[in-house]
Amino acid sequence: MPDQPHAIIIGAGFTGCATAHDLTLRGFKVTVLERGEIASGTSGRTHGLLHSGARYCVSEAEAGIECIDENIFLRKIAKQCIEFNGGLFVALNEADVAYAPRFIEGAHACHIPVEELTGKAALRLEPNLNPKVLLAYLVPDGVFDPLRLALAFAASAKQRGAQFWPYHQVKGLVIDGQKQVRGVRVWDRTSGKEFEVRGDMLVNATGVWAGEIAAMGNTSVPLKQTPGVMVAFDQRATQRVINRLNEPGDGDIIIPQRRMAVIGTTSFEATDVDYIPVLKEQVRQMNTEAFELLPILRQAHMRGAYMSARPLIDSSEEGRSLSRTFKCYDHQEISGLGGFVTITGGKATTCRGMAEKTADLVCQKLGVRAECQTRDVVLSSYRDYYQN
């Protein structure tokens, strides 16, 4: 092992950028290869919700706990790109109210602070809510700017020597006779040239595309590609994030962002996620649900509609019930291929924690003793990413 081990990270979404940040803090030399622009895949197209974890506290406590823990860390280290005004879970009918006891119990179990409000009190806080609101809970939700969150991690990594190569697509893995990954073959899309990058460890942080990279080494990851639609309206109708108090469903989250309200989202499975057209029927259905929460959006104009594909860990279940948690895979254990790990699944909110687990595994595999420091290191200005 050389003095400074070299990690090659494929993918400059939240996970790739956060992992680069973590590994540079642990003394690694890091090269990040990204086939497009920073955060141009799933990460950029998130609705930008900094989860309090309350959305998952009933169905999936593990994801709920991850979210609230990371929510607190991100507010500290990435304040520069987060609007933190809190969120509301809103009950509009008896079925929603009946869900409340499970919600409270789940929130307590996940140590998510919630405050109960009467319908009237909720309307005083957010007058544009449906006046039929019966009950609401305040939660510590926030909203972030997706590109700038990724750039802030990347800028911090770059400051400690990480190299970022956007528009560089990995074409294949370099594997030696001992079934050990030694590097990757890369296509520079800005010049057309192909070349090799060699390193001590390859980290596959390509999210929803993780299976494609794994297949280059004849290995695999259990993943379901699960897109959803999002719609941005040209009116910031609330200051807080508005969630429907019920099981996760379509159009149950409305996120204020800049002057907009972003509605999310649907969930279905897809096989090819390089281009996913916006399905108008889904948009209509989702909007109908969301208008129930905030009727004022009926008068707003649609500013944009877009699709984003979640990478969900495949536990052989269907869409909504798939796990929101993340997983780090050592391909040595899956298929005997050394020098290669994959991190996938998870939420934008948990990207720092995903990076920590990945860097832990990389260190363990290479015999490097270094602690994670990313919980306390405030990220560099995202604009520094553009400094050479």
Binding site: G36, E37, A39, S40, S43, G44, R45, G48, K79, Q80, C81, I82, E83, F84, N85, R124, L125, E126, P127, N128, V143, D145, P146, L147, R148, A150, Y167, Q169, R189, T190, S191, G192, M230, A232, R236, A237, T238, Q239, Q257, R258, R259, M260, V262, D274, Y275, P277, V278, K280, E281, R303, G304, Y306, S308, Y382, R383, D384, Y385, Y386, Q387, N388
Partner: protein, 243 residues
């Protein structure tokens, strides 16, 4: 469900390795309610994987996807195909002006971001400071202090449209001066007045107002530059009487 489809010829600027720019045509059969960025992404996904372009959020919050569409600066993720061409028509896509081209539609934003950082205006501000003073207030309630991501998404459309930026490489440009104006409102830091009180600063503007015309995000940089001039003059006059 039947989706309306248009036949549109995308004429895309191609440029690699600082070679001369070429235009390449792609025939797309596309729902006109899709956005120009969707068309560009379709070309990459289904026609030519060597096409490079900047994009991230696809809903006008990140500012990465600014391009020239039929010669006009547009945020391509919210510009519907229907709004810029017709069935059987063409749609020309080029990189922003007044920035160096890295590859195809990708421009080098590093100088722009360096100047923005120097203007000391963050991306998150209180509601009052995030909006224009003559603008309908975006507050929905009065209790409590709220913050939000500010209007400027740093897309560079204003720099591309600015005739002063076209003739001077050293001019800070509209976005940076608008940021300095907002930062001064926030901090009253006189260093920002000195930053703006330069030939390449607020005085470099020729009042063409193209920046405000193309701004996709309600920043109104031209108004902010004029306001910055007023503040600069007021500061100078005050200095005269301080001794």
């Amino acid at each position: 469900m039947n989706v309306e489809k248009w036949k549109v010829t995308f004429v895309v600027s191609r440029q690699k390795n600082q070679e001369p720019r070429l235009y390449q045509s792609f025939q797309l059969e596309i729902d006109p309610d899709e956005y120009v960025l969707d068309g560009v992404e379709r070309i990459w996904a289904f026609h030519d994987r060597s096409l490079t372009y900047r994009h991230a959020c696809h809903h006008s919050t990140c500012g990465a996807c600014g391009m020239l569409v039929n010669g006009v600066e547009k945020l391509t993720c919210i510009t519907s195909i229907r709004s810029v061409t017709h069935n059987g028509g063409t749609l020309k896509v080029e990189p922003l002006r007044n920035f160096a081209v890295v590859s195809d539609l990708v421009v080098d934003m590093s100088n722009f971001y360096t100047h923005l950082e120097a203007a000391q205006f963050g991306q998150v501000a209180s509601l009052a400071q995030a909006a224009l003073p003559h603008d309908a207030d975006t507050r929905s309630v009065t209790d409590g202090e709220f913050e939000r991501l500010v209007d400027c998404i740093e897309c560079g459309l204003c720099v591309s449209a600015c005739p002063s930026a076209l003739t001077s490489e050293t001019y800070y440009g509209p976005a940076v001066l608008a940021a300095a104006q907002q930062a001064f409102n926030q901090s009253k830091n006189s260093a920002l007045i000195h930053f703006a009180d330069q030939h390449d600063g607020a005085w470099g503007c020729h009042s063409a107002y193209e920046c405000s015309a193309v701004c996709p995000s309600n920043v109104d940089p031209a108004w902010r530059i004029m306001d910055l001039r007023k503040k600069t003059l007021a500061y100078r006059i005050k200095q005269l009487f301080r001794k």
